[in-house]
C-alpha cells in the first residue's frame, strides 16, 4: 500500500499531468473568479472552455500557427462571454438559464462543425527552461511545457492587480458586494459585470486553446467534459480569494492526474471511482467550504435600477 503510494508519488508522469490540468483549471478559475467578484455565478465557463478549444483548431487550421490558434481561442471565449454578459446583464435574463443554453449551444455547434468540416491536429511547441527542466519529479512538469502553459504565470498576477490595485477592480468588487451603493456612487453596475464576464471569456478561451494546443492535440466534442464546473468548485474552495482558488486548481489538477496515473502504474482501482473522483472531490470541497467563507453578497443577484 505504502509502496504503491510511493511509486505513484515518485512518477514524473503524475506531476506532469497534474500540472497540465492545474494550468487548465487556473486559466478557467482565475477568470471565473473575476466574474464572481463582480456578482455573476457564471456557469457558461464550460461552454467558454469548449469554444476556446474549438477556436484553437480553427485558428491553427487557418493560419497554421499555434499563436493564431490561441488568439482565435481567446476570441471565441470572448464571443461566448459577450453573449452571456449582454443577455444576463443588459437584458436581465436569468444568468443560469443563459449559461445553460450557451453550454448546450456551444456543445452542439462545435460538434456539428467539427463533424462537417474536420480539422488537422494542432499542437504548440514545447519550451524547456534550460537547467530547471532537469530537476527531479517536477522539472519537466513545470519547466518543460508547451508554451501556452507559461501564459498562466503573468495572467494570474495581472488579474490580481486588476482587481485589487485598479479603480476598475475596486468598482468590480463594489458591484459584487453592493450594486445599489455602487450605482448611487455613479458606477455603471451592469457594465462592470459585463466586463468581468468578458475577462472570464478570454481566460477560458485561452484555457480551452491550451487544452488543445498544449494537452490533447486535437479537438473532440467531449474534450472539456464538465471541467468547467470543476473550475467553479475551485473558486468556492478558494473562498473567493485568488490564492485559494489557485490552490483549489492544483488540488483538482492532482485528482485528475491521479485518475490517469493510477491505472498507468498498473494499479487497479475501479474505473467508476477514478472517473467520478474529480467530481466527488469537488462536491466534498463545495460541501466543506460553501458556508465557511463569505461569498460576495450580491453573487448571482441581478441588478436593475429601482428594483427592490
Amino acid at each position: 500500500m505504502f509502496d504503491a503510494i510511493a511509486t505513484l508519488l515518485s512518477s514524473d508522469a503524475l506531476y506532469d499531468s497534474a500540472f497540465q490540468f492545474s494550468v487548465l483549471f487556473a486559466f478557467a478559475a482565475s477568470g471565473e473568479w473575476v466574474a464572481e467578484r463582480a456578482g455573476t455565478l457564471n456557469i457558461s465557463v464550460e461552454g467558454m472552455l469548449l469554444g476556446g478549444a474549438f477556436g484553437a483548431v480553427v485558428g491553427h487550421q487557418i493560419a497554421g500557427s499555434a499563436i493564431v490558434g490561441l488568439l482565435v481561442g481567446a476570441l471565441f471565449g470572448l464571443l461566448i462571454g459577450s453573449v452571456q454578459a449582454n443577455l444576463s446583464h443588459r437584458l436581465t435574463a436569468n444568468q443560469f438559464v443563459v449559461g445553460l443554453a450557451l453550454n448546450v449551444l456551444v456543445l452542439g455547434l462545435t460538434a456539428y462543425l467539427d463533424s462537417s468540416i474536420g480539422f488537422d491536429p494542432a499542437r504548440a511547441k514545447v519550451i524547456e527552461v534550460p537547467g530547471l527542466v532537469d530537476l527531479p519529479l517536477i522539472g519537466s512538469a513545470i519547466f518543460g511545457r508547451p508554451w501556452p502553459a507559461y501564459l498562466v504565470y503573468p495572467l494570474v498576477p495581472l488579474l490580481w492587480w486588476a482587481v485589487f490595485r485598479t479603480r476598475w477592480g475596486l468598482e468590480v468588487r463594489a458591484v459584487g458586494e453592493n450594486p445599489q451603493a455602487a450605482d448611487v456612487s455613479g458606477i455603471d453596475v451592469n457594465a462592470r459585470r459585463r466586463q468581468a464576464i468578458y475577462i472570464t471569456g478570454i481566460t477560458c478561451g485561452m484555457g480551452g486553446a491550451f487544452l488543445v494546443l498544449g494537452q490533447v492535440g486535437t479537438f473532440q466534442s467531449g474534450i472539456v467534459n464538465g471541467r468547467g464546473f470543476i473550475a467553479l468548485a475551485a473558486v468556492i474552495f478558494g473562498g473567493w480569494t485568488l490564492r485559494g482558488t489557485l490552490i483549489g486548481c492544483v488540488l483538482f489538477g492532482f485528482v485528475e492526474a491521479l485518475t490517469l496515473s493510477i491505472p498507468a502504474n498498473g494499479y487497479t482501482i475501479d474505473p467508476f471511482i477514478l472517473k467520478a473522483a474529480p467530481y466527488i472531490v469537488a462536491l466534498t470541497v463545495v460541501l466543506v467550504f460553501a458556508t465557511r467563507v463569505r461569498q460576495p453578497r450580491a453573487l448571482a443577484q441581478p441588478f436593475v435600477r429601482g428594483l427592490t
Binding site: T166, R167, E171, A174, E177, A181, A182, T308
Partner: protein
C-alpha cells in the same frame, strides 16, 4: 429650542449670481406631476432649507440637480451659466455633490475605498487615505481610513458619506434628510459641520428635510414645496413654526398631536408627552409580549446583546434609537425570520420558538415591517392574495384554495381600510406606497393580533397617511392589543407611546414613562451615554416606575 436658529440672521445673502439657479422646473411621472414650475436659488455662504412632506417633490428636485432624473421642462444655471445635468458624473464636474440617506456605501470596502468610489482618476491609496484625514480635520469629521465601513456605527458611516461627498470639493452640497440616522446631539454636530462648510469654505448647502425644527434651527433661507410646487420661500427667520407648517401642509395645523409629530416639532410633542397622564391607563393589564435576554449574532457582530422588554395589553411601547442599533434584527426575530442565539420570546404566556417559519404569526404577533417589500408582501401576487398571506402557511398543502371567500374578505378589507386599487385582483406592485402600506396594515389587523409590532410604520408617508397610521395604531391599542413601536423618529415615539425604551448597540439602555420623557436625555441614551438608570435586570418593575 437651541440657540442655532439665531445663526440664520447673521448671514447676509451673497450678491452676484446664485451658485445654482433653477427656473420653471417641471417633471411628470405619467399623470403625476412631481415638480411643477419649481424655482430654487442656492447661494454661496448660505444654508438653504428645502422643506416639504414626503411626496412634495423634494427628492425629485434634488435628483434633477445631481443628474439622476431628467426634467421635462425648466432651466438650470450654475454660477450664471446655463447647464445640462444629464448624469451624476456631469453634476460632479459642475461642482454639485449630494450626501445620500442610504445606499451609497459598500460595507465590505474600507473607508478610503468608499470615499474614492465612483471617481475617474487613477486609484492612489496613499493619496486617498491622506484625503480622508485632511477632510476629516478640516470639518471635524475624524474617521480611520482603513476601517471596513461595515464595522462603523451609523453616525460614523454618515461621516464617511459626507467625506465622500466633500472629497470632490463640490461648491454646492445637497444633504438629503441627513438626520434620520443621527441622535439629536449628532444632528447638532452635523449642523455645525454645515456651518463650517458655508462660512469657512464659502459653499452653498441645501438641506432637504420634512422636519420643521431642523429647518428653523439650521438654515438661513428656506423654500417650501407642496404637491410639487413652491408655495413660499424667503429668509428662515421670516417664518415661525406656524407659518412654515401651514405652508407645508396647506391648511391650518394645530402643531399639536399628530401634526406636530409628523412635522417634527419636537418641543410640542415633548410638552404634550409630559402631560399625557390620560395615556397611561394600561399599566395593570396582562403582559402580552415578553422578551428576555435576547442575543443574536450576525456576520460576526453581536447585533442583539441581551434585550429585555415587555409589552402589556393595550399599551404602546416605543423603542427609540438610531438606526442600525439592532432594531431591524429585533423586528426580524418577531417576524420569525431569524432564530435567537440565546434568550426567549414569550407571547401571552407561551414561549414562541424563534426562527420557526410562521411561529410568530401563529402566536398572533402582527408585524408592520420597516421595508414592506422585504417580508411584508409578495409583489407579484394580487392584492387579495397578499391580504390572505396569513392563511397560506396554515394547514395541509393539498387543501384547495377558496378564491371566492378570499376575494370577499379582500373586498371587505379594501373598503374598511380605504385601499385605493382597481380591485382585489390588482397586482400588488401596481399600488402606490401608501396603499401598499394599507394592505399590510389591513392584513395584520384582520388577523386579530395580541401583539402588533410596527417598525418605522410611517417612513416615506405623507402627513395624511401618517395621521391615518397613528389613528389606527392608537385604536388598535385601545382595543387591547399590545403594540411595540420601533422608530427612529423620536417625535413619533413621543407622540404615540405610553412608555419609551431606548435602544443602543443591541441593548435596551434606558426606559421611561411618557410623562418623564426628556428629549435631551433620550438623545444621550441613543448615543450610548447611559446616564439614566441602567436597563432593568428583570422587566418587572414597570408599574412601579410609572407610578413613582
Amino acid at each position: 429650542m437651541v440657540n442655532a436658529a439665531s445663526a440664520a440672521g447673521a448671514t447676509d445673502a451673497g450678491t452676484g449670481p446664485a451658485a445654482v439657479s433653477v427656473r420653471g422646473l417641471t417633471k411628470r411621472y405619467g399623470d403625476v406631476v412631481a415638480c411643477s414650475a419649481v424655482d430654487l436659488e442656492l447661494r454661496r455662504g448660505e444654508i438653504h432649507g428645502v422643506l416639504g412632506e414626503n411626496g412634495a417633490g423634494k427628492s425629485t428636485l434634488m435628483k434633477v440637480l445631481i443628474g439622476l432624473v431628467q426634467p421635462d421642462a425648466g432651466t438650470i444655471h450654475v454660477d450664471g451659466e446655463q447647464v445640462r445635468v444629464d448624469s451624476p458624473a456631469r453634476a460632479g464636474a459642475l461642482g454639485i455633490g449630494m450626501v445620500h440617506q442610504h445606499f451609497s456605501l459598500v460595507d465590505e470596502l474600507r473607508v478610503w475605498e468608499n470615499v474614492v468610489l465612483g471617481e475617474r482618476e487613477r486609484l492612489d491609496p496613499k493619496h486617498a487615505r491622506d484625503l480622508v484625514a485632511t477632510i476629516g480635520e478640516r470639518y471635524g469629521l475624524a474617521v480611520d481610513p482603513d476601517t471596513r465601513v461595515g464595522d462603523l456605527t451609523a453616525g460614523l458611516r454618515q461621516r464617511v458619506e459626507i467625506i465622500k461627498c466633500l472629497r470632490r470639493d463640490p461648491s454646492i452640497v445637497i444633504f438629503d434628510e441627513p438626520t434620520s440616522v443621527l441622535t439629536p446631539q449628532e444632528s447638532e454636530q452635523l449642523f455645525a459641520v454645515l456651518r463650517v462648510a458655508v462660512e469657512r469654505e464659502g459653499k452653498a448647502v441645501a438641506l432637504v428635510s420634512h422636519k420643521l425644527d431642523e429647518i428653523r434651527r439650521a438654515t438661513d433661507t428656506v423654500t417650501i414645496l407642496r404637491r410639487g410646487a413652491v408655495v413660499d420661500h424667503g429668509p428662515t427667520d421670516r417664518f415661525d413654526q406656524q407659518s412654515l407648517a401651514q405652508a407645508m401642509v396647506g391648511r391650518a395645523v394645530s402643531l399639536r398631536g399628530d401634526d406636530a409629530a409628523a412635522l417634527g416639532v419636537t418641543d410640542a410633542v415633548e410638552d404634550e408627552a409630559r402631560h399625557a397622564h390620560e395615556r397611561s391607563g394600561a399599566s395593570e393589564a396582562a403582559v402580552v409580549l415578553r422578551i428576555e435576554g435576547a442575543v443574536l449574532d450576525r456576520y460576526g457582530h453581536r447585533v442583539l446583546d441581551g434585550v429585555d422588554l415587555e409589552v402589556r395589553a393595550g399599551e404602546i411601547v416605543g423603542v427609540a434609537g438610531v438606526e442600525g442599533n439592532g432594531q431591524v434584527e429585533l423586528a426580524d426575530v418577531l417576524s420569525s425570520l431569524v432564530a435567537l442565539d440565546a434568550g426567549t420570546v414569550v407571547v401571552d404566556g407561551e414561549t414562541v420558538p424563534t426562527g420557526r417559519a410562521g411561529a410568530m404569526g401563529a402566536a398572533r404577533v402582527g408585524m408592520i415591517p420597516e421595508d414592506r417589500h422585504d417580508a411584508g408582501c409578495v409583489l407579484d401576487m394580487s392584492v387579495a392574495e397578499n391580504l390572505a398571506l396569513g392563511r397560506v402557511g396554515v394547514g395541509s398543502a393539498l387543501r384547495r384554495i377558496d378564491r371566492g371567500s378570499d376575494e370577499a374578505a379582500a373586498i371587505d378589507l379594501i373598503e374598511r381600510f380605504e385601499i385605493r386599487c382597481s380591485g382585489p385582483d390588482a397586482p400588488f406592485h401596481s399600488l402606490s406606497g401608501g396603499n401598499q402600506q394599507r394592505v399590510v396594515l389591513a392584513r395584520e389587523l384582520s388577523g386579530d393580533p395580541k401583539v402588533l409590532v410596527a417598525a418605522q410604520p410611517t417612513r416615506g408617508l405623507d402627513v395624511g397617511a401618517i395621521e391615518f397610521m397613528g389613528a389606527q395604531l392608537r385604536a388598535t391599542a385601545d382595543a387591547g392589543v399590545g403594540i411595540l413601536l420601533i422608530s427612529s423618529e423620536l417625535e413619533e415615539i413621543l407622540h404615540l407611546a405610553d412608555r419609551i425604551l431606548v435602544m443602543h448597540a443591541g441593548r435596551i439602555v434606558g426606559a421611561m414613562a411618557i410623562e418623564d420623557a426628556d428629549v435631551e436625555r433620550i438623545g444621550l441614551m441613543m448615543g450610548g451615554v447611559v446616564d439614566a438608570p441602567p436597563p432593568r435586570p428583570r422587566p418587572t418593575g414597570t408599574g412601579e416606575e410609572r407610578n413613582g
